[in-house]
């Protein structure tokens, strides 16, 4: 088999840092164009045989201990902690450990996301011109439009393998063609919750899914095993991003190097020349390349730029994390059996688009405008997670049998748009180190008044749908944690949402952005950022399809 030529001092065409959905999309496109590519991945490989013919691995399983209690897909918070604080008033940090990390493994977060991959709406790319500024936030337009990105959305939907119904969501942006696959089966609870939502005037639809509903790309359809979000798929029915990595490897132009941490991007002052990395043997080495593509995710990417000594003052700033509002309801007479199927099969987008009620709520909160996010119907139903919620003692087993917090509970989660705020940021922690001795990423984050007001407005509305379904009780919670009303103080816990964005902001002006509209750093044009770091605003949609579409656009620009 041909090997990329970076080994032994010869320059490869591109080094890609990170093998998640962003890096995999780039690898797929570059290798198809004949480029030699080396993908560095700090996590382990449990996805695919790195030798020809690149059979898919059999390491994934329906195992709640391995995946959600023992860090099988990494990052292990002992080896690679992160730190968190709400602001300098907390000191260096108020928490050390797992701060909403995404798997660190070949395939990145794609391996264990349950893969709801909607597109953004047209106005998500032009919030400033559509709605205007927000005090205290850096709302701006993207340097590209939905129309610019639409062909790439269609392209990555085919590469990943997305199932969906193009006619089902009246609030969706226009699209040039149908989904590659029809939607899979609806969760039983979603059959009930979508009916209730419709009676209240909402527009639920089958979530576009990066899971096969029919055989696709040589992989089988999903068989509804139920261990989906937080688990690797044992039968490889998730397309995100295994299909792209397998295709890239099959060209013979790509090499994946797992357990290899890129510690620095090397430059000659004008251009990047390659990277320095540390492999499984712990020895520091370097490799040269014409391009360095950074796709480490919106936390690790700015960390690598900072570790490399890059000094643009906006690196790491405008960190955005979807503000989650969770409404739960109890149903004594129903059993939802959420352990069967993909957990979340339906969404509605009504909270994304301002209406009279939300405009009024915004005015009352003193905000010019306000937007929520997608509302996910349901969630996984696994017993270890549930068991830990109950009190120990004689009531434990009766609770587990009756299951008020799993089998008789239905929930909605809104992934609320988080405004870009310059003081919300990733930087290097002054004292905490990873196992290799490098400073870890530190979050400094608190929500803007906008997120709190949008949550306060939409939370009770989600609870009302649960009541229309017949819930006996409902409750609303948020992440980051409980917050007081308008003017109140944000709580101190780290946000739970794994939708992280915005830390290497893209734009035309080097004074207000770090990367350009092709993902290239203004300062070093052969460093391409191919993940959600470049997002200008967060929208209220899961970031993965959009970051893959951007990665496809950036890679296409590289090869043309």
């Amino acid at each position: 088999m041909d090997r990329p030529r970076g080994i032994g001092g010869v320059t490869v065409d591109a080094i890609i840092v990170g093998s998640g959905p962003g890096g995999s999309t780039v690898a797929d496109i570059l290798t198809a164009a004949g480029w030699s590519v080396v993908i560095f991945e700090k996590g382990r490989n449990h996805l695919i045989d790195l030798e020809h013919p690149h059979r898919l691995a059999d390491d994934f399983s329906n195992d709640e201990i391995k995946f959600t209690n023992r860090h099988f897909l990494g990052p292990d918070p002992f080896l690679e902690p992160r730190t968190f604080r709400t602001g300098p008033e907390d000191g260096d940090h108020s928490f050390v450990g797992d701060v909403n990390s995404i798997p660190s493994t070949v395939g990145g977060g794609g391996t264990h996301a349950d893969g709801k991959v909607p597109r953004f709406r047209e106005e998500d790319f032009g919030l400033l011109s559509t709605y205007g500024p927000q005090p205290g936030a850096s709302v701006a337009d993207w340097p590209l439009t939905y129309a610019d990105l639409e062909p790439f959305y269609a392209n990555v939907e085919r590469r990943i393998g997305v199932s969906g119904d193009a006619a089902a969501n009246p609030l969706a942006a226009w699209r040039s063609g149908p989904y590659p696959m029809p939607p899979g089966p609806s969760m039983y609870g979603a059959v009930l919750s979508t009916a209730a939502a419709e009676t209240l005037g909402y527009h639920p639809y089958p979530a576009p899914g990066a899971t096969n509903s029919v055989p696709y790309d040589g992989r089988p359809p999903c068989n509804n095993c139920g261990f989906c979000a937080f688990f690797g798929c044992p039968i490889h029915a998730k397309g995100d991003p295994v299909a792209m990595l397998q295709r890239a490897l099959m060209t013979g132009n790509a090499e994946i190097r797992p357990e290899t941490f890129v510690s620095r991007i090397r430059t000659d002052g004008r251009r990047a020349t390659g990277v320095g990395f540390i492999g499984p043997d712990g020895v520091e080495r370097s490799m040269d390349a014409r391009y360095v593509v950074v796709a480490g995710g919106a936390v690790e990417t700015p960390r690598l730029l900072l570790l490399s000594g890059f000094d643009h003052p906006l690196i790491g700033r405008h960190l955005m994390v979807h503000f989650q509002t969770i409404a739960a309801g109890g149903f004594a007479d129903l059993r939802f059996h959420a352990e069967r199927g993909r957990a979340v099969t339906h969404l509605h987008d009504d909270a994304v688009v301002p209406d009279d009620a939300s405009r009024k709520a915004a005015t009352q909160a003193g905000l010019p405008w306000m937007r929520g996010g997608i509302v996910e119907h349901g969630g996984p139903g696994l017993p270890i997670l549930e068991a830990k919620l109950y009190r120990w003692g004689p009531t434990h087993k009766e609770n587990m049998r009756r299951s008020p917090l799993r089998d008789r509970l239905w929930a909605f989660t809104m992934q609320g748009e988080d405004l870009p705020v310059a003081t919300n940021r990733i930087d290097l922690d002054p004292t905490v180190r990873d196992v290799r001795g490098f400073p870890v990423a530190r979050y400094t984050y608190k929500p803007h008044q906008h997120e709190l007001a949008a949550s306060a407005h939409h939370g009770p509305r989600m609870a009302a749908i649960l009541e229309a379904m017949g819930a006996e009780w409902t409750s609303v919670a948020t992440s980051p944690g409980s917050v007081e009303g308008p003017g109140g103080r944000a709580s101190v816990d780290a946000p739970m949402s794994r939708h992280v964005m915005g830390t290497v902001r893209m734009g035309e002006d080097p004074a207000t952005s770090v990367a350009d509209s092709n993902g290239c750093l203004h300062q070093l044009s052969n460093v391409v950022i191919a993940d959600s770091s470049v997002f200008v605003t967060s929208s209220g949609y899961g970031p993965t399809l959009t970051l893959a579409a951007l990665a496809a656009r950036f890679a296409t620009a590289m090869v043309s």
Partner: protein
């Protein structure tokens, strides 16, 4: 014979687990093997490969080649992490890059000792009182008990999937999965 705990400690742990998840019409933590799950974690490195991550893709309970019992090999960094978590940092610099780590073995040894040598012979009310007075330790054992109880039997607990059947949960279901009808209907 327990793997890592002494016979005495194992007895006390069994009594503790049974207070946390007592038997009623279905078996409690003791009969389900939860103490073996915890002892298996504390002694994970007496096996090769260490019993940290069960294998894939299937258990064999619903078809396919059984693979869970074939535990994964650990990479060097995984071994460092899990040894440190279990054994503690023991003054070794490579385990203390962010400070001293107290291992699970030490926490269990001290926690079980603090419950008193007569714990097994106390009446349930007295046992609960002692457990409540050691809230942090009790929470640790409870979290592990939930894992051992409702996790895959290959880790030593949930013997014969008794805890899953007790709550009507099918457990791991690949490669059989569920039919579309089973997903969408009541």
């Amino acid at each position: 014979m327990p793997t890592w705990l002494t016979i005495e400690e194992y007895r006390t742990l069994t009594a503790v687990c049974e207070r946390l998840i007592p038997a009623d019409q279905t078996p409690g933590a003791a009969e389900a093997g939860v103490p073996d799950y915890i002892d298996g974690l504390l002694g994970a490195f007496s096996f090769d490969p260490p019993r940290i991550w069960a294998g894939g893709s299937f258990s064999g309970r619903h078809g396919g080649q059984p693979g869970f019992a074939r535990f994964h090999r650990l990479a060097a960094l995984d071994e460092l992490a899990w040894r440190t978590r279990i054994e503690g940092s023991l003054g070794r610099p490579e385990r203390e890059f962010n400070g001293v780590v107290v291992g699970l073995q030490e926490r269990y040894r001290e926690g079980l000792a603090a419950l008193g040598p007569d714990f097994c012979d106390c009446d349930p009310d007295e046992q609960d009182l002692r457990l409540r007075s050691l809230a942090t330790f009790t929470q640790l054992v409870y979290d592990h008990s939930c894992e051992g109880m409702y996790g895959a039997p290959e880790y030593g607990g949930n013997r014969d999937a008794v805890a899953w059947s007790g709550i009507g949960f099918a457990g791991d279901v690949e490669p059989r999965g569920w039919t579309d009808h089973e997903v969408s209907e009541a």
